[in-house]
């Protein structure tokens, strides 16, 4: 397990470095005076020169890149103050530390992503299991049909409809908002419930279909048939033998879907007017606030890489063959 972790983590470091280098050189090669942008309107040339020097923009691009990378590892000093170790620089537009802005917004996006993941895994896999259990019956047809219909919805289409039904016209629930789960677990749950369900809907359908088809495949495997033949109950074989095998391809797909999960969170933030990482990305990108944009992207890439490693670790728990190799 440990060698695997070390190998994966060092691979992640290399990828993060490459992504950083690629985006840095692309972003800093755009023909725009960043100091002018950071200074705002009605800025005197002297001020621009001071800012340029403070931000290190007067140096060659390779040196700037070195400073940026060193900042992430060791921290940097800016006129605004010291920027501790994972330093992603200072926002041109606001002058805040990029890391602080990201950490401020991240809990919301994390809640959305993980909450949505839990909802669609529980509902999607559950529905798939039921459909496979009741294969060929009306239940199966209804679930499969519903999954195709629901997967054709979009978050920005379903979101307002749900809001209209539950919030605007009936007042059954409040407008979605984010409260820290540490302050009020109940408020956090109720505030995020609509976004979770809406976001999960479009993923649920896909997982229902997949869970159903892999279950049906597994039920035709020889070891499953043998277990049934020697007299084990249908339910025991279904869950202990077939379900476990059916999880392996599903975990693979989860790994592939992680980045669309993050983008799903971005759309959900916009649909429900929540201020998370996605909104920060769009705001910074439209303002051409390059350090903030780079910071959000690198953070997003890091987040996805870490989730991927966790998903790979999950293989070892599901599939004993992986543990041996």
């Amino acid at each position: 397990m440990l060698p695997f972790l070390i190998r994966r983590l060092s691979g992640a470091v290399v990828i993060m470095f490459l992504i950083g280098a690629f985006t840095f050189f692309l972003f800093y090669s755009i023909p725009q005076d960043f100091a002018e942008l950071a200074c705002g309107k009605n800025c005197s040339p002297q001020n621009i020169a001071v800012i340029r020097e403070n931000l290190g923009l007067d140096q060659p691009i390779a040196a700037q890149f070195r400073d940026f990378m060193m900042g992430i590892v060791a921290g940097r000093d800016f006129p605004q103050g010291h920027c501790p170790a994972p330093c992603l620089g200072v926002s041109f537009a606001s002058g805040d530390m990029v890391w602080d802005s990201i950490i401020d917004r991240f809990p919301l996006t994390l809640s959305l992503t993980l909450g949505g993941l839990v909802v669609f895994l529980v509902v999607g896999l559950g529905a798939g299991l039921i459909a496979a259990w009741k294969r060929g019956t009306a239940v199966d047809k209804a679930l499969s049909g519903a999954s195709i219909v629901l997967s054709s919805f979009q978050i920005y289409l379903l979101g307002p409809i749900v809001l209209g039904l539950l919030v605007y016209s009936t007042g059954l629930m409040e407008n979605p908002k984010y409260v820290s789960p540490f302050d009020s677990p109940g408020g956090w749950f109720l505030g995020m419930l609509i976004p979770w369900v809406v976001m999960a809907t479009i993923f649920t359908a896909q997982y229902t279909r997949m869970s159903r088809s892999t279950m049906i495949e597994q039920l035709q495997e020889e070891h499953v048939r043998t277990a049934r033949a020697k007299g084990m109950s249908r339910g025991y074989v279904f869950f202990r033998y077939a379900w476990r095998g059916s999880l392996i391809p599903i975990v693979t797909i989860i790994g592939i879907d992680l980045s669309s999960l993050l983008s799903g969170a971005v759309v959900t933030e916009f649909t429900f007017d929540l201020a998370g990482l996605g909104r920060l990305a769009v705001e910074s990108s439209v303002n051409k606030d390059i350090p903030l944009t780079m910071g959000v992207m690198m953070f997003g890439a890091f987040f996805i890489l870490m989730l991927n490693i966790i998903v790979d670790l999950a293989y070892a728990f599901i599939d004993p063959r992986v543990r041996l190799s």
């Binding site: 088809s213 971005v266 916009f270 959000v296």
Partner: protein
């Protein structure tokens, strides 16, 4: 060329390969002269859901292509603010909301009018679909071509070339792509036009295509590479090699006809997903902006004003829902028709 692969797809160039003529003739008698492509077509035609979906998708493309003609017949355009037009008095009420019921639906404005500005929703929608569909076609075409070329080169030549192409593919796959679309859009735009100037709509279109193309070809490249890898060792490729065919000829006449099916199936999944990605960009505000009519931008407006005027969401929403549904069903039917073994 009748190949022994199960993935045998269309009958492209079938009779043009001399060495397989005799084999094709033998196959003809046993299969009553049906080429794999013909068989696929027969299977597809029996699938009623598939045929209906195909008609629906075709209708969307027809409407998109004919948008200027339709709006000319209809007599309106997606840019004019009809609320200021003296010919249509009382279009919006005192709150700048459509006066007529259901979002301002009337004989003049079939799908209603946009709140606040009073533009015609019907023409906005058909022009918006035109933008989305044409953009998505361009993106799909460029990504498929790039993916096929890169996958083909890697799979056919193997060795060091394959290794490095594989690493580059992996690298771009590790980008959380939608986040990067958001970040790249303004930056790439700034490469072409000074940020102080207004960005013209055609340039936005070019940048969207560029960004989506840049981070969109990897899945196709992987698919093509793995298919080519399997085919490279087959006897008919070896035979062509021994008889002195050039790599270009082998790729074109022996390998390509055999991987047309997976490429086509993958493309039918890519097209709707590209439409949704373009809509996503416009929805969050980095894609198309006012006044370019665009599907995604309509949803951004609709979500903003949903509490006051839910009807504005209705027509674009239903249109998108039906389109995605039809495309999903069509994709499944095409896959089933090509490969009848995947029972659902």
């Amino acid at each position: 060329m009748t190949s022994p692969t199960q993935a045998a797809g269309t009958s492209t160039d079938a009779a043009m390969v001399p060495e397989s003529l005799t084999e094709a003739a033998r196959e003809d008698t046993s299969q009553e002269g049906l080429s794999p492509g013909r068989l696929m077509w027969l299977r597809f035609r029996r699938d009623r859901v598939g045929v209906i979906s195909a008609c629906a998708v075709f209708a969307y493309f027809a409407v998109a292509a004919l948008a200027p003609v339709i709006s000319w017949l209809y007599g309106k355009d997606p840019y004019t603010l009809y609320a200021q037009d003296p010919n249509y008095p009382g279009l919006l009420n005192d709150f700048a909301m459509p006066a007529a019921p259901f979002g301002g639906v009337s004989a003049d404005f079939w799908f209603g009018v946009e709140p606040n500005v009073g533009r015609d929703v019907f023409t906005m929608l058909i022009y918006g679909m035109r933008t989305s569909l044409f953009m998505a076609l361009a993106v799909t075409l460029t990504t498929v071509l790039t993916g096929v070329v890169i996958g083909m080169v890697g799979g056919y030549f193997g060795g060091r070339v394959d290794y490095w192409l594989g690493r580059v593919t992996d690298f771009f796959l590790s980008f959380p792509n939608q986040l990067f679309f958001i970040a790249f859009m303004p930056v790439v735009t700034a490469l072409f036009v000074s940020p102080k100037d207004e960005t013209p709509a055609y340039l936005r279109a070019v940048v969207i295509i560029l960004v989506l193309w840049f981070l969109g070809w990897m899945a196709m490249a992987r698919l093509v590479r793995s298919s080519v890898l399997g085919l490279r060792e087959r006897e008919f490729v070896e035979a062509a090699k021994v008889s002195g065919a050039s790599p270009w000829r082998i790729v074109r006449k022996e390998i390509l006809p055999n991987i047309v099916t997976p490429i086509l199936v993958q493309s039918t999944y890519m097209l709707p997903s590209n439409i949704l990605t373009i809509a996503f960009l416009s929805f969050v505000g980095v894609g198309f902006v006012e006044p370019t009519p665009d599907w995604g931008r309509m949803f951004a407006t609709a979500a903003d004003i949903y509490e006051q005027d839910p009807a504005f969401m209705f027509f674009p929403g239903v249109a998108l829902f039906v389109f995605v549904l039809a495309f999903n069903l069509l994709g499944d039917s095409v896959r089933d028709a090509f490969d009848p073994k995947t029972g659902r």
